[in-house]
Symmetry: D2
Subunit: 312 residues, 4 copies
């Protein structure tokens, strides 16, 4: 039983044929015009048509950023694409005959880790995707938590600091503003001001890349061993661990999986997260401790997870 | 199919025969000696023996404060009773022939609300018990969330303020220290110092009750209309709502049920919680909003929930 | 004994002849080219030359934003003008024969209030200028506090929230980010997202003024009675009061004077500041309470204060 | 010109003859009965009588904890002694003919450091006494800051964390609750719960000293090299530095002097304070940096400062 998984991003659509073991058998992609839903639909339909030749496809899973409707047939709202209470499944069904399921992209990626990646031996798991923002997915007792209204696991918007950093969501102190690529960018820009003497490597990388320092420069410099960048990633890791301690108090999962670009710093962010998690874990010593590990599925996680969810 | 529910507290054991609709058909109780596990077991067995005469009992559910083992056969740890990795089910089975299930008391109370009380029409729900501390229970897709290690829904230990109030758990800023009877007690004692002019009614109630002001005095005075006490309950309600907003970001349930002694202030705490929840709800306007209501089951919730859980 | 006061801003130079009672007898102004220190000096010298005819001038006081050197002869650093360890006094002395004193502009404005405005009957006073940023001046025992290094009273950079809002200074949680026009702008933009239903008037004002809502729209709408804007100003006022309580713990002055554009909201910001100050004042009831009042000197405060400081 | 300095504590009165260079020429002491103001006065008068024989005494300075009246003739309020708007100077004058001045004890100790100790070469200085609580003294332009109402430099009650630790003053988040012996005690008790494995040495010291761990055990163990205790002192030092950064933004002094029992940890607390001060110092690099050093005067600082203040 092979299915197709499609990951609709802000700038491109990636699609793949995925088998029951999570292997990607074939892939294709198209550019996205975020302002033109019809063009997106045509591109998705074209991807499916292209991939179907040669495979017996039993369903199509579509992942996209935003709020998915509870019965997984449409997008309530998307941050990057002009969708608002949009019947995406019906629109796609005009050109795709097999069953279609819509899912949030972070959920799809988390599901892929749960089924085939770092969480394949777990029964409950939380995935944290530290990309530009902080995406989340929650699996409890082998089931993806979708929420009463389809918008569970918006983990980046837990408030970790009252009156804290402003978030694009309009609120203050969201976890995402302390634990994401965006957070790293902001922290690095501040460090250029407050820690000028140690910021040489970041200035170099920024200068070579158009001028403004960004999170990616920090993860790169941290990997090289730059002390300031390592401090910045460590601080971010501490916030990751602090939020994990909150999630443990609520969900008590056995596993946390860290993915996304910031996770490329590997052990650095992981060790900091583990340490601050342990520091803040309630009733430590009276309970087993959840594990925190890196994701394994890479950038295909969205495709694989979406493809698999259409089977569940 | 009638079952028995038993609620083991720090000072007493309450037991009842409960039918499938959640009605309590008969009740009994015994005093608890928290230091003597054997005496507790004898008392539980005696309660069951007393209640079984005249009813066809198919199971016994036992609720107690503390960490329950994942397979619900024992107590990993209890704050009030001398249990530590304690095989409570086997111990009780010496004198009880029907199936026995152990459950955390807040979970049992929450389950009762879900099945027969304020949550009976919901499919997902979070119960907050604002007693001395802040207890929680989480029901998702009709299932009680128990956690990978049996200790989910320790909601009182989410951190809501970094470097915030000290908690008995050894950490700082736990939600419980801002939203519980204990929090109300502490806030009231501070108000006696900082808001002396308005604290007359609280001083009176405290003086008539042994000297020190406690949370109960505040809820009582608030019900009478005392302005300072109403301010204190309102402030507590704001913290309740703030934590609810975090839980919505994570769990996206359709309903929150507020119980425990502080909930006796009714609309006052409820309105404050609703307002601050709305203020802090991420993506408000793009999603349905969870409801926040008062609990309906009263003090028998533990018995009823425990009795029902043995059937599930 | 008349002196001249000069206020060098980012876009204009304002100058005036001021008598010993703080009256402005004559005024003139020039445009500023912030990138060209020599042009600024020529403009200042021209202002002085113009104003001296007809008055017996005994000194010139010059106010500008930035860090003034301890002996008041130059600018260590300016945020808006290309000065860095700049010998401004000597440069100006080439074209001005009377004594010259350089002073920070917030200090000059505060001194004017102390000598001739809201603080004229006080012996110790703190001035808070709630403009785009939050400027401060401190007068203790009739003396302007300049600091060991000339940079006292940078009150906007007290940290009021650990891990709080990012500040342009590179740090987090600075008071200025909670109590200034910039803070009001940011809070209003967030309210457009989180409190859409009540933001109609702010959207109107912003639309009529180029599109983006700014702090000035909020103070204007608050003056009209717009409920959301009044809430935003009240919240800002609470942060003003909270910081004042800190300053009282440190300095114990008898008076706080609130000026700057945000103070145009008058009683609204004042009442909120007073209330939160009282809520947070340590040892209230055991000490007299500092007064909090509005500034009286208006936009000429910088000129008047600079002119008077050259006499002291 | 020799004077007498008297330090009235909660349990004892210490008195000494002090010369113009700050040397203590003779000393005596009496026990204090905090509930009996008359007994305290008799004891003070007796101390003075005893010390006057053999010295030509021109004045008596009296230091005590609490709020001193602005003209230094009485105690507005004392935390430990039954004084409330108490005319202490007149009461003492019944038995002492030379001029008497009353001063807050932290102010007296700070003045001693300024005149004869770590601050003798400074013109502006802040003293932080990290004892059970956090006391402060501020010297600006060679003058002790007393405040409009006599209660300046209550530095321990600056709020460093909104909704933070409860303080005995009735408020939340006071600096004293993060940077004092009391804070160390509380942090250590928490560490016994949350960091059990590393708390062995603290448990030993507490057991050998009556059972409960106290701040003194932490400073002792830290001096021995105990890793957990060193972490606790370091964390305290960070809060010291964070508050110092706030004081620099306000007062811009050239020097901070750290005294009190916690300062016995020496370099450990000092290095942590310096590092976090630098991390949080606004406009670092554009201004000279205040120095942070240890106090030099020891336990006689109160006597020496009080004795010297009667001359000023």
């Amino acid at each position: 039983m092979t299915t197709i998984g499609i990951d609709i991003g802000g700038t491109k659509i990636a699609a793949g044929v995925v088998d029951e073991t999570g292997r990607v058998l074939a892939q294709t992609r198209r550019a996205t015009d975020a302002l033109d839903p019809e063009a997106i639909e045509s591109a998705v339909i074209a991807c499916v048509a292209e991939l179907r030749s040669g495979y017996d496809i039993t369903g199509v899973g579509v992942a996209a950023a935003g709020f998915v409707s509870p019965n997984r047939d449409g997008m309530r709202f998307a941050p990057n694409i002009a969708w608002r209470d949009y019947p995406l499944r019906d629109r796609l069904a005009r050109g795709i005959e097999v069953p279609i399921v819509i899912e949030n992209d972070a959920n799809a990626a988390g599901w892929a880790e749960f089924r085939f990646g770092a969480g394949r031996n777990a029964r409950s798991m939380v995935m944290l995707t530290l990309g530009t923002g902080l995406g989340g997915a929650i699996v409890l007792d082998d089931r993806l938590l979708r929420g009463a209204f389809g918008v569970a696991a918006e983990l980046g918007h837990m408030r970790v600091v009252p009156s804290g950093h402003y978030c694009g969501c309009g609120h203050e102190g969201c976890w995402e503003m302390y634990a994401s690529g965006r957070a790293l960018t902001r922290a690095a820009r501040n460090a250029l001001i407050t820690d000028e003497d140690r910021a040489g490597r970041l200035r170099e990388l920024a200068a070579a890349d158009g001028g403004k320092v960004r999170g990616q420069h920090v993860t790169l410099a941290a990997a090289e061993g730059d002390p300031l960048s390592r401090d910045l990633v460590t601080e971010l890791g501490r916030w990751v661990g602090a939020g994990i301690a909150d999630l443990v108090a609520i969900l008590d999962p056995e596993l946390f999986v860290i993915g996304g670009g910031v996770a490329d710093t590997g052990d650095l962010v992981l060790e900091a997260a583990r340490a601050s998690f342990r520091d803040q874990l309630s009733a430590r010593g009276y309970r087993p401790e959840a594990q925190i590990v890196l994701a394994e599925m890479g950038s295909e996680a969205g495709i694989v997870g979406a493809a698999d969810l259409v089977r569940h």
